[in-house]
Amino acid sequence: MVQLFNGLSFSSILLLIALGLAITFGLMNVINMAHGELIMIGAYSAYMTQIMFSNYLPKSLFDFYFVLALPVAFLTAALTGWILEWALVRHLYGRPLDSLLATWGVSLVLQQLARTVFGAPNVAVMAPDWLNGGLEVMAGVVFPYKRLFILAIAAAAVLGMYLYLYKTAPGRRMQAVMQNRAMAACLGISTRKVDSWSFAMGSGIAGLAGCAITLLGPIGPSIGTYYIIDAFMVVVLGGVGKLSGTLAGALGIGILNTLFEYGTTATLGKVLVFLVIIVFLQWRPAGLVQVKTRVLD
């Protein structure tokens, strides 16, 4: 029971950090190595919001800072992503290896920048009071509010993305471009605009993820690198280019990882998960959920 919850809550974190990647990597085929740094930017945005609140606003409002931190993190990261796309990534579409190297460079630059601005030591984000403690479901079984809150954010993000992709006009345009760029362009969709919009979206969700993980651990300049591998794993396992795949991937890895870790040790658990994924991809190279494409073979 507790393990299931642990697995689920780990999955929700994975899902949040992988969602943004699912757009930029899964849908746009850009290998964005700076994705981790967008997470970092989200985390530091939360930190800055906290500082603003504790320095300039009355103490009674402090508990609500986190509500504001979420959109702030989203917008800051989205803006950074938008600039990144405009300045660099758009010149590299269709050249995955080049974009990998270039964004890797960007990620190192951003990390160093954070180190210069915020200093090498980690900073702590204080959780608001209403997120401290936990829900006691049974004697001795506590679900921390923070974890539940992250679960809720993840669920909201998935729902939001689903609605955006399938129910709104810009979302549909985005899908159209992803499925057949040339045809979409012929039909009068500005693919350029869709590209930069989508990239900013993906980056924004990374910022959201960054904001959420401040609840769990420390914030440092290299926070993103701890999560980036897991994020790529989720997208690859789930199947490149499908929202449901990302969901399945995150659930699978999160629960497996927790179970293995419970049965063995933290290090060995991770190794086992990687092994399972590698074996699985041998058998089904396209991942859990496969894309039906409209492009003729």
Partner: protein, 421 residues
């Protein structure tokens, strides 16, 4: 055709990319320092001044992941040098520090130590923090017949003729902490540490001691450096129901672990966490709130109630800022400089062999109390203290060893430690 072709290639590409990603993560963890800009490096003056000054090396990580801890130790060593100079220096000469940056990178430590000894011809090096950096400098100082003062508690089982150890050996921190816990907190221990040499060696020692003194180990876990997801381990801890968690986690992981422990509803009333790598400086980074009520074992706390310490804390803050704190390695770095200066005065020369000979039994009234160099193994006699973390990030001392404890890096005086190595 393009599309499916891409999908097939994708898996290949992804494997490659993941390998690259892991490389990157690796960089972030260990070699992170190499990408950071070097701060101050050699500021040695020209050789003509060599006649009136004695050059000493100060070699710490001023950039990279260890900079957070080591910069403040460097500051303390410079403070000691400044004070000694203000009092007239040693042998009628001023001490001239040559500062080098080890950049949190072990090969760099070896390289810089070599440079200090061969090019700057320093009389002694003060430096290092991680065991890895010490092990990297060890062969260099031995080959070049140099001297190294190493200021941090460590896992023991080492004694180089060219190194003076001013931090705690295991019998001056870990062993008394375990004995105290067995007496005051309970028999069931859970060992949690980061996965590298210090925690694994420390836990080997603790297990032997528990077996000998009637304790019981109910769990042992290691997590990679930088690990932040502790929910599963906390579940395991809940099931094992220990009285004590002996925590040898290092760095960032501590933040995540303590936050999540608190969120899981476990407080210091349910069990005690004893840490040996969290001092005032680290608490400042973690935030005191999740740590309140838990314990740490050290030789020195900023709150240590001695006149000499009040003076030290006041001088340190006056020089480096009100919000700065002192802690155990800072203090050990500070008095290390004094011990060396005393030995040089007694020897009448900076010649390494003569200084070593003169150092035997040298005493100094340090902020933590009287410290003395043990002639046998060049470690230091030190007081042992256990403190409880307070909401202001300072320690309240619960216990101390009354008198300085003789260093025993190989645990020769413990019957149960015979088979350790």
């Amino acid at each position: 055709m393009r599309e499916t072709g891409f999908k097939k290639k994708a898996s290949m590409l992804i494997t490659m990319m993941l390998a690259g990603g892991m490389l990157l993560a690796g960089c972030g963890n260990s070699g992170g320092g190499s990408s950071t800009a070097p701060t101050s490096s050699g500021n040695s003056s020209s050789n003509q001044a060599a006649g009136d000054t004695i050059k000493v090396g100060v070699l710490h990580s001023l950039s990279g992941t260890m900079a957070i801890s080591e910069t403040s130790v460097k500051d303390a060593e410079l403070l000691a040098i400044e004070e000694i100079n203000a009092a007239g220096g040693v042998l009628g000469k001023k001490i001239e520090p040559v500062i080098e940056d080890g950049a949190s990178d072990w090969p760099t430590f070896a390289e810089k130590a070599k440079k200090l000894l061969q090019k700057d011809k320093v009389a002694v090096i003060f430096g290092g923090w991680t065991s890895a950096s010490r092990k990297a400098m060890l062969p260099v100082v031995e080959e070049n017949k140099g001297l190294l003062f190493y200021p941090v508690q460590y896992e023991g089982l080492e004694a180089s003729p060219n190194i003076f150890y001013t931090g705690a050996a295991p019998n001056q921190q870990i062993v008394p902490a375990v004995s105290w816990l067995l007496k005051n907190k309970g028999k069931k221990f859970y060992l949690l540490g980061s996965d590298y040499v210090f925690p694994r060696t420390a836990n080997k020692i603790i297990k032997a001691q528990l077996a000998a003194e009637g304790g019981e180990m109910v769990g042992e876990e290691y997590t990679p450096l930088g690990h932040t997801n502790y929910s599963t381990i906390i579940s395991k801890i809940k099931q094992a129901k220990p009285d004590v968690i002996f925590n040898t986690l290092n760095g960032d992981s501590n933040v995540a672990f303590f936050k999540q422990l608190k969120d899981a509803g476990i407080t210091n009333k349910d069990l005690t966490v004893m840490s040996v790598s969290i001092a005032e400086e680290e608490i400042r980074g973690i935030g005191a709130e999740p740590l309140v009520g838990h314990l740490a074992a050290w030789n020195y706390f900023q709150t240590t109630d001695l006149p000499k310490n009040k003076e030290f804390v006041q001088k340190y803050k006056a020089k480096y800022g009100k919000d700065r704190v002192t802690d155990d390695p800072i203090e050990a770095g500070y008095f290390g400089v004094y011990l060396w200066a005393e030995a040089v005065k007694k020897a009448g020369t900076t010649d390494v062999d003569k200084v070593k000979e003169a150092s035997k039994g040298i005493e100094f009234e340090a902020p933590e109390g009287l410290v003395k160099i043990d002639g046998e193994n060049q470690h230091t006699y030190k007081m042992v203290r256990i403190g409880e973390i307070q909401p202001d990030g300072q320690f309240k001392e619960l216990w101390n060893s009354d008198k300085p404890v003789k260093p025993d890096p190989f645990l020769k005086n413990y019957e149960w430690a015979k088979n350790l190595k």
